[in-house]
């Protein structure tokens, strides 16, 4: 155990000095649920963490490719964590986001890591927090978290980002459905992608009118973008850079982050299986079980 810890320390030192290989190995350790003691970022320069979420097939990865190029032109070092679901049956996963990120493999200033949702008993969110912290400490100035967003667990994932872009596509209008899940309240900007296809404008209008029913007058802007043709991307990046998140939105994010950690703590408890059995046999109540797990 002690040996393992020194191993981690060496890896960490080397990653902080700029070894890409060792940064990558550390990310794997974190993914496997190991504790890696990442030093607090003491410098005043904080990384910008951008969350991209939305239904499958709306063009998130293509858009991320554009964002990478945009930031690369500004001379920024960009890291991407692309999260894809793994099969609950086989545990296998096909991570193909890179295919649609043309700019992802183009040099020392871009780092892309694909992650599947398996492995972590408490969901990926808790390890994601450590991964972002590690990337930040290793000097990756801009970090993108990309995830398919359709349910509660995805909200928790993007809640770790400073700014969140919600992406929808033409003929979908899924975002209106997503409102039920509470994703829409987290978004700093809503983007309707594939603006070059018929139907995009209509979806944008539908979302706008749905938002106008809300009482908040600081609801997110809706923007039409074509990642494929690279139109509207610059405007999107300007909007997100200067968007100011209202206090209530920050609070929702903090709330989601707390819930993630809570889930993680309960689900990674070594007593979890025992507690489930005890509840099953009726020897303890649900409340007792919760008390044991959260101790």
């Amino acid at each position: 155990m002690a040996l393992e810890l020194t191993g981690n320390k060496e890896l960490l030192g080397s990653a902080l000095r700029g070894s890409r290989r060792d940064l990558s190995r550390l990310l794997s350790l974190i993914e496997k649920g190991e504790d890696v003691a990442i030093p607090e970022n003491t410098s005043t320069k904080k990384s910008m963490i951008l969350g991209i979420t939305g239904p499958p097939g709306v063009g998130k990865s293509t858009l991320v490719g554009r964002i990478i190029s945009y930031w690369k032109k500004e001379g920024k070092r960009v890291a991407v964590l692309a999260i894809d679901p793994s099969s609950p049956r086989t545990g296998g996963a096909l991570l193909g986001d890179r295919v649609r990120m043309d700019s992802a493999d183009s040099g020392d200033h871009v780092f892309v890591r694909s992650l599947s949702t398996r492995g972590n008993p408490g969901g990926i969110s808790a390890s994601l927090m450590s991964m972002v912290k590690l990337l930040e400490s290793c000097g990756w100035e801009n970090i993108i978290i990309e995830t398919v967003g359709s349910g509660q667990s995805e909200i928790k994932i993007v809640a770790f980002a400073d700014k969140i872009i919600l992406v929808d596509g033409p003929d979908r209008g899924d975002i209106i459905q997503a409102e039920k899940a509470g994703i829409i309240e987290l978004a700093d900007l809503i983007v309707v992608n594939k603006s070059d296809t018929p139907g995009a404008l209509k979806v944008a209008e539908t979302i706008k009118s749905a938002l106008s029913f809300s009482n908040e007058n600081d609801s997110p802007q809706v923007l039409l973008v074509s990642a494929e043709r690279n139109t509207g991307v610059d405007e999107m990046m300007e909007l997100i850079r200067y968007s100011k998140s209202p206090i209530w939105r920050d609070r929702i994010k903090i709330r989601e982050r707390l819930l993630s950690l809570w889930d993680y703590r309960l689900l990674s408890s070594p007593q979890l299986n025992q507690v489930i059995e005890d509840i099953e046999t009726g020897s303890i109540s649900l409340e007792d079980g919760l008390d044991i797990l959260s101790r």
Partner: protein, 145 residues
């Protein structure tokens, strides 16, 4: 296993690579697919960023005798000698020995069954698990069939 599936060089057909990628996923592996026309340098960087255990390369263009040695050398030189490399696509019989000598552990040509590839990975995985490394750096002569 975490496996990167890549298409090196100028070769525009990836139906085969995609079929294999899906089969490996269904076999419980975590597969990262790179897309078409990657350079050896890009492939080696992707393997590094993804911290993969294995690299599957598919080539149909006939350029394998240039591309494969280059990729294997890049892996060895950048501290990724532990990564296991296997090949698929059109690799003429007469080139097999050269590919194996570069560190490749298996070659699956047309007609190969996905079950066989999964069996190979299982075997490879248990070897790695029992401390018999079979990366591009390890020269122990082991190969599939």
């Amino acid at each position: 296993m975490k496996i990167v599936m890549a298409k090196p060089g100028l070769d525009g057909h990836d139906r085969g690579a995609k079929v294999i990628a899906r089969a490996l996923r269904d076999g419980g592996h975590e597969v990262v697919y790179t897309g078409l026309r990657r350079t050896p340098e890009e492939i080696s960087r992707i393997v590094m960023d993804e911290d993969a255990d294995a690299l599957g390369l598919s080539t149909l263009s006939g350029a394998h005798d240039v591309l494969i040695p280059r990729i294997c050398a890049l892996l060895r030189d950048s501290g990724m000698g532990h990564v296991m490399v296997f090949l698929g696509g059109i690799i003429p019989k007469r080139d097999h020995e050269k590919m194996f000598s570069e560190g490749v552990r298996a070659i699956f040509g047309p007609g190969s069954r996905t079950e066989e590839i999964l069996m190979f990975l299982e075997d490879a995985s248990s070897r790695i698990g029992s401390n018999m490394p079979i990366g591009v750096l390890n020269d122990d002569g082991w190969r599939w069939n």
